[in-house]
Amino acid sequence: MNTQHNNRFFFKVDWITILVYVLLCTVGFVNIYASVPSNSEQGALFDFGANYGKQLIFIVTGLILGFSILLLDAKFFSIFSPVVYGITLVLLVLVLVIGRNVGGNQAWIAIGSFRLQPSELAKVGTALLLARYVSTFNPKFRDSRSILTAALIVGIPLFLILRQPDAGSALVFLSFMFPMYREGLSGYFLLTFLGMIVLFVADFLVPSNVLIPVILMIGGFFVYSNRRKQKIMFSAIITTIVAIAYLFMVKFAYNNILKQHHRSRIEIILGLKTDPKGVGYNVIQSKIAIGSGQLTGRGFLQGTQTKYGYVPEQSTDFIFSTIGEEWGFVGCFVVIGLFIFLLLRLINMAERQRSSFSRVYGYSVACILFFHVFINIGMAIGIVPVIGIPLPFISYGGSSLWSFTVLLFIFLKLDSNRMGFI
């Protein structure tokens, strides 16, 4: 009886997503294998002392973890979401106290030889609790109260992660705006964020004595053209004032709050400074490696930049440079194609859910993955500042692979149960 139930259940699992997942993990393993520095020759495929050997263990255990999740009851996630969220918050606080400081970020809790990164788990917890909130109270995010509640759910882990300080992981939490948008949050919120980013960039590239008059002129135009509609005119005036205030805030924050290495990275990405030996080195070497792959790549294990260690952090944050060098544009196209396919499919799957819990969770998963993919690849090809976040399923590291696996497989479980009640 029980086995029969399981059989039926497994047929409902979205195997295509699992196939894409396995493909991406395989791409990761192959490229981590290639990224091993040449002075330690590529040895046996199952050398568990080397990174690629460990990654193989992570992939296998990740699959076991994923399929265990599929065996759980779908209601579990909804019911226990506050608990999971609570645990992640405790871990996030704990990491600030007993965490290991690696590369300036206090992001790791060491348990024996195993290192846990609570910020990865926090994404799962936050996504679950946000979904629970939406499914329970059915907010439309039209009132400030529901918006604030959601902001709090996302904001507490975000704040704790910023304390580590891990700006990259914190940035990913902005992706929760998309599920909220889907549930009814005004599009202006997204546009406001977009506007803030545009103004932020403009603040560096255009001198203030040009930028501020330009903003005033645009604001003045809107005010003048809507002079009959008092309400719109009023909000245009407010927007203009806020925009200018924002500019000054950015300048202030930039000069007083950001650290020098943040400043350098921003300046380099905006092309204000070139620094091939310093901070820009990573990006330049990554671009060289990717560019040298040309159309079809140098071939597996033939990438000289990869082999001779020219790209720092190659198996983790800059794994995409290995793909770019050894597999060329064709390889990049396949990898990005797989990701886009996965993301679109996840959204479609989210839309076919009966429960809003599953839908919100599905959107969260898709958008978290999207942020990671966009920022990681964008950083490797130099169109996004160097923010150290992993490429899902591909970058080396157990913590990130497992948390992405958990994130994805919870949604697969929810999806397989889409006809049932949660």
């Binding site: 002075n39 549930e183 040298s292 001779y308 993301l343 679109l344 898709a366 999207f370 090809i381």
Partner: protein
């Protein structure tokens, strides 16, 4: 629950995914496919070309005795990043440079690259290398790279071999990528003429380097690597012994000796004086020595055998007579009367002697100007020509066939043409009113006619061969296969039949061997030398002493031109020097009493008074080579002791007897 408008927001989110995906792919397309900037950067990231220097080709003399060889020297290199604090003063003491220069070189190397080896001090000698290598471990980051420089065991033939020097930027640009900064290139002489043969092929190893600049093995399993190929050896036509004696005979004299083997065109001796020790032009002192040598007022670097301009003088007369015979304006018995001068219009060409009626043989033996002028007159006034201008051009073309008035094409750079004008030149100069009388000086090889010593020796080779020459050349075989250039085996005929040569050769034989000859000082016991003296007037002081000739008369083995500047009669210096040279070559040594004469000749000083003494020339010997002091610096001992001057005049009187 799900309003339609909220459902549509799915497309906004999915649209964003697609747009961002396309932005990523677009950027990747630009980086990977469109632009090859990154591909090239990747190459320069990992690929370094390591060059191995081939040994330059060795140059041998005609008996395969070494003239130019290679000697190892050592460049002190450093990888600036690996240099740890060290005892600078001690290191400078070992390699014998001052600390300021050392510091400058180290900073320069550091500026070029912190990780790549840079040259700190070039061409350390074996002795310094030995002292240094014991201590080198005390100076981390420094190491020694060996290469070879030129070495000249006999210190002879400096003008012939030339020298090599570091390439200039211009030469690097012109070589289309062959030369690199720090390479050496032949700058003159054979080193330059045969640069492509001598230099060999540089070896290259394409090495891959990792990010820490540690070599990681060769690129593409060495598929594009090449081994250094040593330069090919050259076998020159020079006879080292003859060359050495020639240089010694010309010591403290200005001029040149050219000896050619007529049958092959091979140059046996190529002496240009003043000369210098070629060993001065290698090593660390090359620059200083070069500047010092440049200060010599007698222009050490002139390659007189192919660059010196001399009127051939009487040496031209046999050629004149031969053209006359060929044209049929005279035969061997045609007689002219010599009253001691030749008069055309108001112009009088003087003759040294009053010979009365004189025919070909005696005319040449006595070097009679009048005879030569008559022949010239007859040649230019032949009926078959419409006018004398056409006749002149025709005559000039016949002379040019002998290699005068144009480069001979010897295998050395910077050969000069000599001087022999065409009719148009004279028509321009004298308007149309000129005739044979205007240019009558040409009949006796004077006036507006210049030839290089090589051209004069070549005339003798033509006569020795009875009508042809092979282009004179200095390299008779290239490489192990003994290749010779095609142009150096081809016979060049001068348009005079072989039968006409005998009377002329008779005359030249008499000039040397009969009591009335003018060149009796060039007589060699047991060997029939044929020759002509020349006493060439020039604007720069005393006459030049000239002798041209060949020996032996039958089946000649050597043709010679000897010029000693400002030394008076041809018989005074040039003729005896030529006889010693010929004897040395034909008999391999100078016999009996003549040995003492040779030694005496070597000691003679015939130099123009030095312009102004500018202190003692200071030459440091190249410290990487051991100087043969006995032979050192003939040109540099040049300041003439005043008491030696009268001796020359006395010798002249003596030889005139």
């Amino acid at each position: 629950m799900e309003t339609n408008s909220l459902f549509n927001r799915k497309y906004v989110v999915q649209g964003l995914f697609i747009v961002i995906g396309l932005i990523l792919l677009g950027t990747l397309f630009y980086i990977q496919v469109y632009s090859d900037k990154y591909f090239l950067s990747a190459k320069s990231n990992v690929l370094r070309k390591i060059y191995t220097f081939p040994a330059r080709g060795v140059i041998l003399d005609r008996h395969e005795k070494v003239l130019v060889q290679n000697e190892p020297v050592y460049d002190l290199m450093a990888i600036p990043n690996d240099v740890k604090p060290f005892d600078t003063i001690e290191l400078c003491r070992i390699i014998d440079v001052d600390t300021a220069r050392f510091g400058k070189n180290l900073r320069k190397a550091r500026r070029l690259s912190r990780y790549q080896p840079g040259i700190i001090e070039k061409q350390l000698s074996v002795e310094i290398y030995q002292a240094l290598s014991e201590q080198l471990s005390r100076f981390p980051g420094f190491f020694v790279q060996s290469r070879t420089i030129r070495q000249y065991p006999d210190s002879i033939g400096s003008h012939f071999v030339g020298y090599i020097k570091e390439v200039t930027q211009k030469e690097i640009d012109r070589s289309e990528g062959y030369y690199r900064s720090g390479d050496y290139i032949g700058k003159s002489g054979v080193e330059r003429a045969y640069e492509t043969v001598l230099r060999g092929e540089r070896g290259v190893v394409n090495m891959l380097y990792d990010v820490h600049n540690v070599p990681q093995g060769s690129y593409a399993e060495g598929k594009f690597d090449t081994a250094a190929v040593s330069g090919e050896q050259l076998i020159s036509s020079l006879d080292a012994g003859l060359q050495k004696m020639g240089e010694e005979l010309m010591r403290n004299k200005i001029g040149s000796i050219v000896a050619i083997e007529p049958a092959t065109g091979e140059i046996l001796a190529f002496v240009s004086s003043p000369s210098y020790d070629p060993n001065l032009m290698v090593g660390r002192q090359q620059g200083n020595n070069y500047m010092e040598l440049l200060k010599n007022p007698n222009r050490v670097f002139n390659i007189r055998p192919i660059q010196g301009y001399y009127s051939p003088g009487s040496a031209f007369k046999p050629l004149d007579a031969l053209i006359g015979l060929q044209e049929g304006v005279i035969d061997e018995n045609t007689t002219f009367n010599c009253p001691g001068y030749f008069k055309v219009g108001n112009h009088i060409t003087k003759c040294e002697h009053v010979d009365g009626n004189i025919a070909l043989r005696r005319g040449l033996a006595r070097s009679c100007n009048t005879y030569a002028c008559y022949v010239f007159q007859k040649l230019l006034t032949q009926r078959k020509y419409k006018n004398q201008k056409i006749a002149y051009d025709d005559w000039r073309n016949k002379v040019k066939l002998w290699g005068l008035g144009d480069t001979l094409g010897v295998d050395l750079p910077s050969e000069r043409m000599g001087r022999l004008y065409d009719a148009a030149y004279y028509s321009k100069k004298y308007s149309k009113y000129w005739g044979y009388g205007t240019v009558i000086s040409l009949a006796i090889g004077q006036g507006e006619m210049d030839a290089t010593p090589l051209q004069m020796a070549n005339i003798m080779a033509v006569i020795a061969n009875r009508g042809y020459y092979i282009k004179p050349h200095l390299i008779k075989a290239i490489g192990q296969k003994h290749v010779i250039r095609k142009e150096y085996v081809r016979k060049n005929y001068v348009g005079v039949d072989a039968r006409h040569f005998n009377p002329v050769i008779d005359g030249m034989q008499e000039a040397v061997n009969s009591p009335w000859g003018t060149a009796i000082q060039s007589r060699i016991p047991d060997i029939l030398m044929c020759g002509k003296t020349g006493t060439v007037q020039n604007s720069r002081g005393k006459n030049h002493s000239v002798f041209i000739g060949f020996a032996p008369r039958d089946n000649p083995k050597i043709a010679l031109a000897v010029i000693v500047e400002n030394a008076g009669y041809g018989s005074a210096y040039a003729a005896p020097i030529a006889s010693y040279m010929a004897e040395k070559y034909l008999k391999d040594s100078i016999g009996g009493y003549r040995k003492a004469q040779v030694e005496w000749m070597k000691k003679q000083v015939v130099l123009p008074p030095p312009p102004k003494a500018k202190g003692k020339p200071l030459i440091k010997p190249a410290d990487s080579t051991v100087l043969k002091t006995e032979q050192a610096l003939p040109a540099l001992n040049s300041p003439v002791k005043p008491e030696q001057q009268p001796k020359i005049t006395s010798r002249n009187e003596h030889s005139a007897q």
